[in-house]
Symmetry: C2
Subunit: 336 residues, 2 copies
Amino acid sequence: LAQVAQTAGVDPSTVSRVLRKDANTRVGEATRQRIITTAAKLGYVANANARSLVSSQTMTLGLLIPNMAGFVYVDIIRGAEVAAREAGYVLVVIDASDQGRAGDAFHRLVLEGRVDGLLIASGIVTDNLTDSLLVQSSRCVVLNRRIGGHRPSVIEDDEAGMQLGVEELIRLGHRRIACLTGPADVDTARRRLRGYRNAMRNAGLPVPASYVVHAGFEEAEGYAGMKTLLAKQHPPTALAVASVTAAIGALAACHEARLQIPEDISFVAFHDAPVAEYLQPPLTTIAMPLYELGHRAANLLVDLLNGRRIPNLSKVTHPQPRLLRRKSIAAPRADD
Amino acid sequence: LAQVAQTAGVDPSTVSRVLRKDANTRVGEATRQRIITTAAKLGYVANANARSLVSSQTMTLGLLIPNMAGFVYVDIIRGAEVAAREAGYVLVVIDASDQGRAGDAFHRLVLEGRVDGLLIASGIVTDNLTDSLLVQSSRCVVLNRRIGGHRPSVIEDDEAGMQLGVEELIRLGHRRIACLTGPADVDTARRRLRGYRNAMRNAGLPVPASYVVHAGFEEAEGYAGMKTLLAKQHPPTALAVASVTAAIGALAACHEARLQIPEDISFVAFHDAPVAEYLQPPLTTIAMPLYELGHRAANLLVDLLNGRRIPNLSKVTHPQPRLLRRKSIAAPRADD
DNA sequence: CTGTTAGCGCCTTCAG
DNA sequence: CTGAAGGCGCTAACAG
């Protein structure tokens, strides 16, 4: 900067004003042009750290992700990235696959001032972490999970989404519909389960306890969960699964048991993913507004950082959940 | 810091020395303890920006990823994260799904001094970007792709990996083996193709031009590529595919054509992924040392930043590629 | 319209 | 073994 100022024959502060497009001060057009061209010629780029030091903001946002492999995070990340960029921020993603690392990341990013705020994706909010986060709650937004206390969070309408899927199964004539959902202590899993229960209740259908299986979101867990269901005396004729990955595992279990899909069992999975279309058979999914979830969350975080009041809980309802009908669903066999 | 110094009754510089565990200066044990406890009590955390400003290093590394959905990146990220942490760095991941953003990210991260160096994953190195990167080549390591010029890059032994897979197909008795690889202008795709050719040549098998299909790494592209192959007069009896995702698409095309796998066509895919085990049929894959790739790349970047000389091209050869035999391969039919 | 003056929070010689 | 002073690169309030 001093370099640029000297070669342009002006004061550093003037250079700063010009390059920052400071609206408050008006600079002579001639000097402005001179400064801009010399800056370009010298390849000058302002140092973000020095700037952060004085302005005490870094203009970068962090996004903590528990599992980079998850299909769902791709869209969330994109949405958040775009929203951040629109607001002039840089978005950096941090892999917090193991729990301990999340707290560590929080420390090194937020506390040490590397980022202005943090988006925390579901699945890594442990009690431990919660404590330290509480301290700095004014810089975090939790995503895809409701949180006790008064920290802001953004969720999808998981309930409505799952209900949509189950209603379709009911419409096709299914009565014995099971739900393969996520861990009982995970909020999103519980909300998806509630959507399933709503649909069943509305149709006057019974929900045997054994038809609700709390598995995980991964292939192996879906596989194991399906095994459990198939071992029942009256296996279901249709299944609502809480994730595409779990559904892939469940499909594998069905194939192993020589069941035809959709003839023997219909499948609906929560969230869409590119792979769904290429499975055997192509998987019917419930597409959720993940991009918008990320976008909204980042927007809220920016608002929060700017001192605006934001709701403790926001639900992303647009666009609405959409059912993507593929070949994994059909009417049940006549004798069912 | 001033706060802590005052309450502990010492000078800020002493606090700095203690908290930084400065090896050069020895501080009285009594004052040391006092400083540490008061710092903890006050919840003091050093400001990374101020520190960066004076030391002109941020102790953070960036990793540019073109497509977060790719299975391969999960392990790369983990490896890089661990290596970074071991060296005292924080790793942040940046989604550079579209090309333009990569240059932008480079600017905002490296040039503005938010990170000390950048790991650039394959697939986003365009000519455009290369120019700006060249300027700052001393802070970048390219990953999974060889680069013209003299910028350091780290790759796997794609050639050996693919060769391993094809050799297995040959051993099973296949002669009509096709290769569904990535775009011709992508270095990794070309190297995998070379591995295929090596294996074929070593076995004295012909490679009709039509048996080499340059598709992409995505499901849809694998699907389209397979369609092309199936339209041939003499479709192959076995296939080596350059990615699991493309293989999923190709499998779908085969199912659509009512082909039995592995009876009609055997499949081997490059890289392993959790989903491989749950496909119909479970997919034989070539597991590559992706974690180590990320780990090595981050290590090299750290070396580079510390002024050590590093090779322009490093190949990660340990652990060696492993063939994970699953049910997608079998001997060809007798009449083939 | 532009230059001057401080100071952001920390580290690093140099003295004591 | 510890305190004092200067400066990292930039911005902001105040003069001119």
